[in-house]
Amino acid sequence: MKGKKLIKEIIRWARKKSPWILHFNSGGCNGCDIELLSLLTPHMDVERLGILKESSPRHADILVCTGPVTAQTESRLVRIYEQMPAPKWVIAAGSCSCTGGVFAGAYNIHDGIDNVLPVDVYIPGCPCRPEAIVDAVIKLQEKM
């Protein structure tokens, strides 16, 4: 019993220390996307927290969506989510991916990611600051 618990603890530790993110722009304005990319650069350097930006959905743990989900991206978004191996989490980055933001009510969008996928952490702000994205990943680690 103790051994099993220990293994579980180790796995939990590993997951916390190595969150690989996949970025998908589901119709956002670029603002959050460039803030997300700037996380990788010397200013923030999230690799020191073990965060890597992966390019294939099969390698990723966390899906970071930026954008209110346009009708055209919806099916692709669901497919990417399904391609990700479990356990997986979703972060909605930016106001428009939380609620639709300024675009709420437009004819071509679903107001927010949570109308399409289960969301674990919401990041408000338009665009969300890079510090807020790091904070969201830290918050998500508590959930793991």
């Binding site: 180790i10 796995i11 530790w13 590993a14 997951r15 220390k17 190595s18 650069t41 010397p42 350097d45 690799e47 020191r48 073990g50 390019s55 294939s56 099969r58 390698h59 743990d61 391609q83 191996p85 479990a86 356990p87």
Partner: protein
């Protein structure tokens, strides 16, 4: 007595210089690489336990493959490449520590074991039948012939000079006189170039070029299989570097002494440093540029180099 010998045998195989030690040092070198790259880029870089956390996490993840993939094959390929690099590393470090005795021809065996993952890498792409995987696999095969020939040509200069095809023979030939790095500096540089190709590092990272091929053949792998591929990659780096140190720096360190091991590790770190700095300063080559470079310049150079060694 027999029991003790058997226990020692298991210890060597499983702990030192076997499985645990090799995997740990493979991870360590991977971390060094990432840390160095991060420092060159003006970043802090990951903490020391990063590769360990990555691998454990990947093993704990769900393992899914696209429909139509041969499950057994998809498991065997990364497993085989892991095993082959593991045995290569075990042989080199075993010879170093004296747990494995070097035999004539093991040099050839090592080269084969180290390059096996590159071939399997290509097959790994084909089995998972993703567009990027197949294209990445094709690219890795295209690239295979250009760097493999280069690597074998360049590094066999040491074997030719020593007149022996065993690791110990190459080593012993150097300990009496100068290490080969002094006479065969050109060969050393060429084999580093070949090694970069083998490890698919920048500027030879064409098969897994992130910006166009996503992750090349590894695109569709997930969970434990991806972890095995990564481990194979770590160990390939480790054993490739160790082989080069063994072949070119023979007289610079004393085997079976503490100071000798320290020098050996320092030399390995130096080569890792060279690999990292090359990754940092070069763009990825295009496939035609790569083949041009290798077949027009580097391989003829290595041929001339070997001819000169034979004449001398």
């Amino acid at each position: 007595m027999i029991m003790r010998e058997f226990a020692l045998y298991i210890f060597h195989l499983a702990f030192f210089p076997g499985f645990i030690f090799l995997v740990a040092s493979g991870m360590f070198f991977h971390w060094i690489d990432r840390k160095l790259l991060a420092r060159f880029e003006g970043r802090v870089g990951p903490p020391w336990y990063q590769p360990l956390a990555d691998i454990i996490k990947l093993f704990a993840k769900e393992d899914i493959l696209p429909i139509g993939t041969n499950q057994l094959f998809a498991l065997l390929l990364p497993l085989t490449s892991f095993a082959s690099t593991l045995s290569a590393g075990f042989h080199i470090l075993g010879t170093l520590t004296g747990t494995v005795s070097s035999f004539n021809g093991d040099f050839i065996m090592l080269i084969f074991l180290i390059s096996l993952p590159s071939l399997l890498f290509f097959l790994g792409g084909w089995t998972t039948s993703g567009v990027y995987s197949i294209l990445g696999g094709n690219r890795s095969l295209l690239q295979y012939f250009s760097y493999e020939v280069l690597f074998i040509m360049a590094i066999s200069g040491t074997a030719i000079a020593s007149g022996s095809w065993s690791l110990a023979g190459i080593f012993n030939a150097q300990s009496g006189s100068m290490p080969y790095i002094t006479l065969q500096i050109a060969g050393f540089i060429l084999s580093i170039a070949g090694l970069i190709g083998k490890l698919k590092r920048s500027p030879y990272d064409i098969p897994k070029a992130k910006s166009e091929m996503v992750m090349g053949p590894l695109t569709e792998y997930s969970g434990g299989k991806l972890a095995l591929w990564k481990l194979a990659d770590f160990l390939q780096t480790l054993s490739g570097i160790a082989l080069i140190v063994y072949c070119y720096f023979g007289g610079l360190w004393l085997p079976h002494t503490a100071i000798g091991y320290v020098i050996f590790i320092l030399l390995m770190l130096t080569i890792q440093f060279i690999l990292s700095i090359i990754s940092a300063v070069f763009t990825r080559l295009r496939i035609d540029q790569l083949i041009d470079l290798n077949w027009r310049i580097l391989i003829p150079l290595s041929l001339i180099h070997n001819l000169l060694i034979m004449i001398l």
